[in-house]
Symmetry: C2
Subunit: 345 residues, 2 copies
């Protein structure tokens, strides 16, 4: 058994605003032994995702929060170390939910075996996993883009946004990304094939977005909230659809922004322009996973769809990596590698 110890990151305190290192504790425990009906899995890749910020709060978000002193949750690509569970053998590669720790027991619930011949196993946490599935359902089922329409995607170089924009191009739309630093904007256009990408760091964001969307916006895929949302609103066309997937700009705010209160204005716009705002969470749409997987894996395989991963090594770098995610420092799907990927050695 490697090391004989299990390093775990637990939630020590609920963050107030932006999470700090002090909010977490790195503990070492013994690697547990699987009982009959369990298996022990070794974490290879941990997925870091914006939704995790909500789980650090004391109240429930759309799922219960992590309790103080408990290991932070999260999806992982893992390898079976020892199995006392039918159908799982030592060495199997699986998508599981080990959380922020090097080893975890599992009874097999929610676990899926991975086939490394389809795609690199890390993609089960990104383009072929929850972020890709989110992009597919959010854009196609909720955004319902039509050829020739303008689709705007925030966090355009991120794990979800990059797929949203590429899927919208395949639907025949004009696709405008919004991202942060210039190299992300360049990547979104030159590598992913978006028509334009506007940096949200620009002082003239509203004007630049307006110029990028001469025919207004028919679908806005909302990942960020904040000033990007504000720049999008006046450009929304009649019958616009706004799938609300995330709002990372607001996750760490401790007080609502100062007034005026724009809720009446927003609802007035909703009425006059017949806009649909639709919050969604991918766990409600697991029935669409097979269709998504078939569609996207074929296009990953033939190179139509591209993806990018941002890989950080070592469990001890998890918290700084998560902080960077909240600041938009990652470039592509953020993964932390806790241990060797046997398909790469």
């Amino acid at each position: 058994m490697p090391h004989g110890r299990n390093r775990q990151i637990c939630l020590a305190h609920h963050p107030t605003g932006f999470p700090t290192e002090d909010n977490f504790a790195l503990l070492e425990t013994a690697v547990p032994e699987p009982k009959e009906g369990e298996m022990l899995c070794r974490t290879i890749y941990l997925s870091l995702d914006p939704y995790m910020r909500g789980r650090m709060n004391p109240g429930p978000s759309y799922a219960p929060g992590v309790e103080l002193g408990h290991v932070m949750g999260g999806a992982t690509v893992s390898q079976v170390v020892r199995s006392r569970l039918p159908h799982y053998d030592e060495g199997d590669l699986v998508l599981s939910a080990n959380g922020w720790q090097e080893f975890a027991l599992s009874d097999g619930e929610g676990v899926r075996k991975l086939d490394p011949t389809i795609a690199p196993i890390s993609t089960a946490l990104g383009v072929l996993g929850m972020p890709g599935h989110t992009a597919y359902v959010g854009l196609l089922d909720h955004g319902r883009p039509k050829a020739g329409e303008t689709v705007v995607v925030s966090a355009a170089s991120g794990a979800v946004g990059a797929i949203v924009g590429q899927l919208a191009k395949l639907e025949g739309c004009r696709v405008v990304g919004i991202a942060g630093r210039q190299e992300k904007c360049d990547y979104v256009v030159s590598e992913l094939g978006f028509d334009v990408c506007v940096s949200h760091h620009r002082d003239d964001l509203s004007e630049a977005l307006h110029a990028a969307c001469p025919d207004g916006i028919d679908v806005y895929f909302e990942n960020v909230g904040g000033k990007v949302f504000d720049a999008v609103l006046p450009l929304l066309n009649t019958f616009a659809r706004v799938p609300v997937c995330g709002r990372i700009a607001n996750y760490n705010t401790t007080h609502p922004p100062t007034g005026p209160d724009r809720v009446p204005q927003l609802m007035g716009l909703t009425l006059v322009r017949r806009i649909t705002f639709k919050g969604f969470i991918i766990f409600d749409h697991m029935d669409r996973f097979p269709t998504f997987f078939e569609y996207v894996s074929a296009r990953i395989h033939d190179g139509t769809l591209k993806y990018r991963e941002d890989l950080v090594d070592g469990i001890e770098n998890t918290v700084p990596a998560f902080q960077g995610l909240l600041r938009g420092e990652n470039f592509g799907k953020l993964l932390v590698r806790f241990g060797d990927d046997p398909t790469k050695t």
Copy 2:
């Protein structure tokens, strides 16, 4: 020709905030003569509706505003006085758009003949017209209520709200109305069959609404905005649907309310509870008119659906009646009778 004169109410000034008598001018002109391809119609009933407030503003709402010096628009039930148009004869009763005047010419576009044996002709402006159609599409197509769910309707005794609530009862829902004065609340429960009706005049509106909705709110049919919307928001269930039909509480505001800005909070709730806010306007759903008409007229005929009209007499009382509408003083569908209804004499 009765009187030989045509009284008309024109928009004299764009209102700032609440419309005043001074914003309008009552003019007398000659009754016009129809040319070949036209007919002259005499207004019997004018419909007064909240959307008209938007038409008084200088900018376009979802339809162009009324120009200064022009006659205020509006749907009417009229009688053909002289016809030089095929298929229309003197004495025919029609749904038309005479606006706020006693006589108007028409080329027949958008005009529909009325059959007084189906229902009283005034219902073409209410339960069997635009308000009823709005209620039907907004509730059934956008609200999609399921049996056992809780549906909340604001402006519950109004032309739209009263039908929404009754339709929701027919779908097997728990129906909670929100209305103003006590006699309206009593009517909504005892006559229309809502389960509960809460007055928005209560200081403890939020608590009272919470008590009336022990299982939360699955569909909120939004007619009013303002403090009622605020009381509804925290009670919205996961997967709630909010058809946004009107927001009369905000139509006369000249400044947005003071902060904090609750837009981020609203979008956060939208995401976490997977809520759908959908603005709609009935003119986009004319394809649903036949289905609506068949369903509702049958239930008016057999007494399943009830309606109430608030009738004001005389064109000179139109502006005060419209002001009363904006204050919630009318009780039922507000109509102004400009001249004799030949089906009632």
